[in-house]
Symmetry: C2
Subunit: 449 residues, 2 copies
């Protein structure tokens, strides 16, 4: 009796060629984050439920994979922020602040399965955590890093939207709507999805806000234009509320530094409709959209929080972070056929086919190529020549080397370029130079095209 092999729905499992592309995306993330002085971190996937759910409540709670093992009440992490809070609280004395870490890891949410929704998915996070204080310049560096990363990946048409919740909070205080600010922001957050009219009727209906004030709100969040135009329009509200003024100051600084960091204006926009659903953001907030695919929603979000680890420690640990939903982003890039098909995704650069019974010469040649840095697969199976070549085709290996009695005697390497079909008989160094030049040429492009 066989068991039907299957992978659970909502769990991404890639074919080899796709996985190689995913690894390239991850490698680009790691190297970019490292360029900015972030240290890699790895935390357990399983945590004690008491620790992981210290904050309690929340929309995510019912999605959590929670179970018991022996006497232990355990949960799988549903993001990388709570484990970071735990980590920083435990290791506070051993860390240098500001503490900058990146983490690329799997998280788990038992959402209803549907196309493009994942229950196991990678998040790629960067966070900077201060001890007591954290300068606003960090809020500008975050989107600059994301800009740099997307550039290196080859993603062009994207825009990072920036806002500051203090501006929103201050504005609602001016309208004397502080207590309802959370509800209002959650409603206003839906603007892109449901439109101005529906938002308006939700505000005056469900939330019981006067039509005057609802009008003010809608005029406020409709403020648009270049970043300078938006900032200028906001100046009109200055002087009426401290929180608002502070937020405007922060946002102005972020915008100023963002251009110093070299982020072109087309890639970032002040956007007063961005509030982020999550409660813990207290200042700057980010969302990032693909210009040709707004329907996908934000591919990279985050913001400033006042106190990372308040459920674990009395230390005040303000931070700012940003997170990429990597699995979903990769899925979209695949669906939209945006992954660069010209890159080499074969397991090896060169397949070595021995044409003799004894493998010793082939092993020696493979070793020599490897010492020169080439990824070499030695083909050892006893098959017909045709079957060997069809294997080479199927793996997509760029070069095949044939090693028979003639080549061994003459001390030459017979090498076939599997794309052009061109076959050469050169000495080792000549072959190596040719293969390297061609591999270099084929690895020029970025992952996204």
């Amino acid at each position: 009796m066989k068991v039907q092999p299957r992978t659970l729905s909502g769990f991404m499992e890639l074919l080899p060629q796709q996985q190689v592309m995913m690894e390239r995306v991850m490698e680009t993330m790691r190297s970019t984050y490292a360029l900015y002085g972030f240290t890699p971190l790895d935390t357990p996937i399983i945590e004690s439920s008491e620790v992981l759910l210290a904050k309690g409540g929340g929309e995510t709670e019912k999605q959590i994979y929670r179970f018991t093992k022996g006497d232990s009440d355990l949960s799988l992490r549903f993001d990388l922020t709570v484990p970071l809070a735990k980590y920083v609280a435990i290791h506070y004395g051993e860390l240098a602040f500001p503490f900058r870490r990146y983490q690329i890891g799997k998280v788990y949410r038992g959402e209803r399965a549907q196309r493009g929704r994942f229950r196991e998915f990678y998040q790629a996070d960067i966070d900077v955590i201060g001890d007591g204080k954290l300068d606003i310049a960090n809020d500008a560096e975050m989107p600059a890093i994301i800009y740099q990363l997307f550039n290196r990946l080859g993603l062009k048409k994207f825009q990072i939207h920036v806002n500051n919740r203090k501006i929103l909070g201050g504005f609602y205080a001016i309208l004397d709507l502080t207590e309802q600010a959370g509800d209002i922001m959650r409603t206003v957050d839906k603007l892109a999805k449901i439109g101005q009219e529906k938002v308006s009727s939700l505000l005056t209906g469900e939330l019981g806000i006067s039509p005057d004030k609802a009008g003010e709100i809608l005029r406020f969040i409709a403020i648009q234009g270049s970043n300078q135009e938006v900032l200028s329009a906001l100046e009109a509200y200055r002087g009426r509320n401290n929180l608002f003024d502070q937020g405007l100051e922060e946002l102005t600084t972020v915008v100023k530094y963002l251009s110093a960091f070299g982020v072109p204006e087309e890639n970032f926009a002040v956007d007063l409709t961005i509030a982020r659903g999550l409660d813990y953001y207290t200042g700057t907030v980010y969302e990032t959209f693909m210009l040709d695919h707004p329907e996908i929603g934000s591919i990279c979000s985050g913001g400033r929080y006042d106190n990372l680890a308040e459920y674990y420690t009395d230390k005040l640990l303000p931070g700012v972070g940003i997170s990429i939903g990597l699995t979903r982003l990769f899925y979209v890039l695949q669906e939209q056929k945006m992954l660069n098909q010209d890159l080499n995704t074969a397991p090896a650069d060169l397949l070595l086919l021995p044409m003799t019974g004894d493998l010793s010469h082939a092993i020696a040649l493979a070793t020599r190529f490897r010492q020169a840095g080439l990824r070499v697969q030695l083909y050892t199976e006893q098959k017909k020549f045709k079957a060997k070549m069809s294997y080479a085709d199927k793996t997509g290996v760029p070069f095949v080397v044939f090693l028979g009695e003639d080549e061994i005697r003459e001390g030459v390497v017979a090498c076939k370029d599997m794309v052009s079909g061109e076959q050469t008989k050169l000495d080792f160094q000549g072959t190596l130079d040719r293969v390297r030049a061609e591999l270099d040429r084929r690895s020029q492009g970025s992952v996204i095209q």
Copy 2:
């Protein structure tokens, strides 16, 4: 009310400097495996219990993290071999065989917690899967790759022990003990742990084997010497059993190719006591020991199996694989202080301290260094000079650059080597050359020393 933050026992969570070393080990693994034409794979951590436990029974079953979510009976993977079997069975038509993959991933076993035992741990596996057949040369390549990997990591005093279960099976058939062969091998497997006398009494006692035959068994597994000497001694048994002869043929070929692959004899040994507890190994088996730390047991094990995915498919998929218990190995390397402390484990190569209120020049300089490939952290906090320098000390960053009005005006870079204390004022290129040279020098060593 604060929740006490803690990490579950049996779950490794490293400090930043240690994590950087772990990342280096992983990167060395990835690049070494890639050199031999293995493709990276990533499979879900959660699988359907029906699929994951298709084989059923087994010692591991009670250690498995198993739970329900909604209507689904789920389990966390306990190795990377069963998910590979599933993967190959599902994607059979899309893969090229021999299929060579590496996977470095976390697996879960709810073992009794004790020092150096982990419930969540990384395994780093390579496997080659054939379609119907797989040449014996692959069995020789596996330890050659492990030898190469350990060499690159800087691990020197290790020995890969190789045996072939067909030799054992054939030998027990000669003694007419085939039915008890499994029990005998499990007993003999304990030789290193419990000694010859105890093994002997277990054989004649529990297993009811005649003293004559027990003596034969003990003489057989006591065969020692150079690899050639052991092979010669085995020749004495040739011609009495087909399985034995086949195993001896295979082992002889593996030994021959291992030297062709450049593995020095001091790093591999034919060892007739190695049987591997697991049922599914059918030919070559490997275990690897650290010569100075035999108490640790095998750090890298594997072998040949006749049929990888028999629970899922009728296809005959023989394979050979080898697995490193990475988390445990890393733990041991730490405990034994074998990790190279001279390597740079700081989050950045260079910490840039702006001495002016405006950050624009500092941002521009940081960008220039990054474009040259340096990992640069821009320090943005408003702190006293002493606090900034103590931050630099604590992160272990090798270089600090000070950027004040003077340096900006003069167009020079003031740079301090944090180890030697030497401070220079050079132009950008001069500083870059100096920093690069020193960083190169400090990254010379291998991870293990």
